[in-house]
């Protein structure tokens, strides 16, 4: 058995690796995606005061601390049975919308986008943010940087810090938006809406008008039929901050729709001995291994999954694009769902960007956003609470139990990317099996095609790569049975 070790180091939690085993016939026998990292938040948070969790759990992830800040704050509200003031909810959502815009923008242009804008088999040196800028123009590059900077400005204003926010606490937020600051919030939101339109045009001109790319999106290598999960509002529209979790089956029918406090009835996590990360799956379907289909409890929670699981978007521009995406990729005007082509995730991400921008403008223009009624002092006895938000990389669940003084006794966290761990592992294996055959010369293009299989999930163990040249470097080592290196390829 030959062994390929793929080690993409640019991971958030440091150091994951992919092990691909090839049998004597040259076929891929199996592929393992290992996450060799554990920090143990669920244990060491026990004993901490629950109101500190929005400030502690941000340290799970310095790239998307906003998601943990929000999920923790919502779980705290639930622990104290406190209804937060309407203005406080809007302020949290406004912060969260600016965050989504910044996060999705950087992924589209710096990390995922280069595969399409430059092309999957473009020279490695061009397949990065600089290549994107070369293709769409320097002005676009400047727009990307400006978008991130203005969103960061608002995140610091509303969250206290650009990284690791501090303002949400049980019952509301500690700081509001002053009337004299509202104009700037609106100005930034308007600029973001224009930027979303620009990004949709980039997608249209460079990707969707190119038949080869559309064929690639619809091809089999990047196709998986699984369940899909996403948070929806009362009208089954995509929502990032609040609502119920809806799951649809591979045929598009609703499998379940649950409130945060019901998650244990629907989600379970499996432990494997070869990785530190657990594998969530749908409890009522059951764990059947790393396989597709209606009988397998594997589900996916990505931008594309959210669009599959919802009936539409809550804002006009995003809704129009939503309809166009499903029509284009299914060839069916009736709004047939779901889409199984995993590479459509990139398109879904831009549609979500448009929604976040439109929604941030609605919130920034809301007269109530400058209200000073932003705190409710909790009075009920604290006990148990669950908070769920949509992190950019998947449904994020925080579950806390406390004693009567609000000191934590149990903590359970199901984090964005973790939802997608099984699908990522399956996608990597499928790509490897489809691309590496007997006598295959492992080239740069093949490595990138394997890499694309997990890049589309925007995995959080790599989400720090969001920030600059989005080239995920890879080394593939081929060893013989004794572990001696026979051949090594690198794609820098």
């Amino acid at each position: 058995m030959k062994r390929y070790t793929i080690d993409p180091v640019t991971r958030l939690e440091g150091h994951g690796k992919i092990e691909i085993f090839v049998n004597d016939d040259g076929e891929v026998a199996n592929a393992y995606m290992q996450i060799p990292e554990l920090r143990g938040f669920e244990q060491f948070c026990v004993g901490r005061p629950v109101e500190e969790m929005p400030r502690i759990t941000t340290r799970l992830c310095g790239v998307c601390p906003e998601a943990h800040h929000m999920a923790a704050a919502k779980a705290c509200d639930a622990v104290y049975h406190v209804e937060i003031p309407s203005a406080a909810k809007k302020l949290r959502e406004l912060l969260y919308s600016y965050f989504y815009i910044a996060d999705h923008t950087v992924h589209f242009y710096a990390l995922g986008g280069p595969d399409f804008v430059c092309g999957p088999d473009a020279p490695a040196a061009e397949r990065n943010i600089l290549g994107v800028v070369a293709k769409v123009g320097l002005d676009a590059g400047k727009q990307v940087i400006a978008c991130r900077a203005r969103c960061q400005e608002m995140i610091e204003k509303l969250g206290g810090k650009k990284i690791h926010q501090v303002t949400s606490l049980p019952g509301g937020v500690s700081v509001g938006l002053k009337p004299e600051e509202q104009a700037r919030a609106i100005e930034i939101a308007k600029a973001n809406v224009e930027f979303a339109k620009f990004t949709l045009k980039v997608l249209e001109d460079i990707v969707l008008k190119n038949k080869a790319y559309v064929d690639l999106i619809l091809g089999d290598v990047y196709n998986h039929k699984t369940y899909y999960m996403g948070l929806v509002d009362a009208n089954n529209k995509v929502n990032f901050y609040d609502g119920k979790v809806r799951v649809v089956d591979p045929d598009g029918a609703e499998h379940c729709k649950y409130s945060p406090n019901e998650y244990r009835n629907f989600i379970a996590e499996r432990v494997e001995p070869w990785t530190y990360l657990k594998f969530p799956y749908l409890k009522k379907v059951g764990w059947k291994g790393f396989v597709d289909g209606k009988d397998s409890g594997v589900y996916c929670a990505t931008p594309q999954s959210r669009l599959n699981a919802a009936d539409g978007m809550a804002t006009p521009l995003a809704q129009a694009e939503y309809e166009r995406m499903f029509e284009t990729l299914t060839g069916d005007k009736s709004g047939k769902k779901p889409i199984h082509a995993r590479l459509a995730t990139h398109w879904a991400r831009v549609i979500e960007l448009a929604y976040a921008a439109e929604h941030s403008l609605e919130l920034a223009q809301d007269p109530e956003i400058t209200s000073d009624k932003i705190r409710t002092i909790p009075t009920a006895k604290p006990d148990e609470g669950i908070g769920i938000v949509e992190a950019p990389r998947g449904t994020l669940t925080h579950h806390y139990c406390t004693d009567e003084k609000g000191i934590l006794t149990k903590v359970n966290l199901i984090v964005g990317t973790t939802n997608n761990y099984a699908p990522i592992a399956m996608s990597v294996k499928k790509a490897a099996q489809g691309l590496i055959k007997k006598g295959t010369k492992v080239t740069d293009a093949i490595l990138n095609m394997v890499e694309m299989a997990f890049r589309l999930y925007d995995p959080c163990f790599g989400c720090a790569t969001h920030t600059l040249p989005g080239q995920m470097p890879l080394i593939v080592t081929i060893r013989d049975n004794e572990g001696n290196i026979k051949q090594q390829f690198r794609r820098d």
Binding site: R59, T167, S174, A268
Partner: protein, 323 residues
């Protein structure tokens, strides 16, 4: 002349330190112009092999963020030390262990039990746990060894300088880098860079009066006055026991300091420093009343050592004794 080589590495971290470096924005280009960045997994190629190929001491400066949580982190810390003339513990995790260091209040066994058995959604009737070597049908898969305790970088290797903060503020990061780019002489070994020389209180805009505390409030229990010192209002604020340099960002938005910039000059232990500060402001002479007032502080160890436990005198809970 070849540009001096610089490296950045992350161990047990959240990625926030990397984002903080990126947040120096256009100055990144100044850094790239002045230095040859030879290793930065977040942004550039994976080149552990290339780092191994560099002669020992061939890298001028390595900024190392993240704590030491497992065997892979230790291996990388030792490699980067050997290859670097100057090794900087960058950010709270490498400096003092940060929030992941709170794991030293518990045990490796308890962490594994909670994460892989007891958590509400875990379904693991056979008690499977991750193994450092796992026999699979196709071959052996390996994982790094999860250590008993979290260590700051200087427990593992010799450290030359420290840049505190969770994360270090970007203006401070650029300040340090600019100083180096201008070719200024290196400061004395062990110096804390990118921070002030006083406490967070010294850059806090809130008005302090003579403190007399009879009641402690948790942050969600009261709406504090926006102008007055939070500690004066009975909210435990770690400002008096925390080095300045962050810009007092948390207190400016109405929430108390939790100490991410680490111990102030002249102190090794934030908890001791804070207890010393509190002992002079508790407004009572009666032992019973003093007990009552102190008893209102929720989770003293997890609050006063939030960022500093792993590098404090305490270091960890004595699990061996407890068993």
């Amino acid at each position: 002349m070849a540009k001096p080589k610089v490296a950045l590495y992350w161990a047990a971290s959240c990625g926030g330190c990397e984002i903080a470096v990126v947040d120096i924005e256009a100055h990144i280009l100044d850094v790239a112009a002045a230095f040859d960045i030879v290793f930065w997994p977040c942004i550039m190629d994976f080149k552990v092999k290339d780092v191994e190929a560099i002669e020992d001491g061939g890298i001028l400066i390595t900024l190392f963020n993240g704590a030491i949580r497992n065997s892979e982190h230790e291996h990388m810390a030792k490699l980067m030390r050997r290859k670097s003339k100057v090794l900087v513990a960058f950010g709270s995790c490498a400096h003092e262990g940060c929030i992941p260091g709170l794991a030293n209040l518990t045990t490796k066994e308890a962490i594994f039990k909670t994460v892989y058995r007891d958590t509400a959604s875990t379904d693991n009737p056979n008690g499977v746990v991750p193994l450092t070597k796992c026999e699979m049908p196709e071959g052996v898969l390996e994982l790094p060894e999860f250590y008993r305790s979290v260590h700051p970088l200087d427990h593992i290797v010799d450290v030359d300088y420290y840049i505190p903060g969770c994360p270090p503020q970007s203006n401070q990061i650029w300040g340090v880098l600019e100083y180096l780019i201008q070719g200024n002489p290196l400061p004395e070994k062990g110096t804390v860079l990118g921070a002030g020389h006083k406490t967070c209180c010294d850059e806090c805009p809130r008005i302090r009066k003579e403190k007399k505390i009879k009641t402690f409030h948790r942050p969600h229990e009261i709406i504090p006055d926006p102008e007055t010192c939070l500690l004066d209002q009975g909210i435990l604020c770690m400002g008096p026991a925390t080095r300045d340099g962050c810009g007092a960002k948390c207190v400016k938005v109405g929430v108390p300091c939790r100490g991410c910039y680490g111990v102030p000059p002249g102190s090794k232990d934030m908890g001791m420093k804070m207890i010393s500060a509190l002992s002079s402001v508790i407004d009572s002479e009666e032992p019973e009343e003093i007990d009552r007032i102190i008893g209102q502080i929720a989770d003293p160890v997890g609050t006063m050592y939030r960022f500093n436990l792993a590098s404090s005198i305490l270091f960890r809970a004595q699990d061996d004794m407890r068993r």
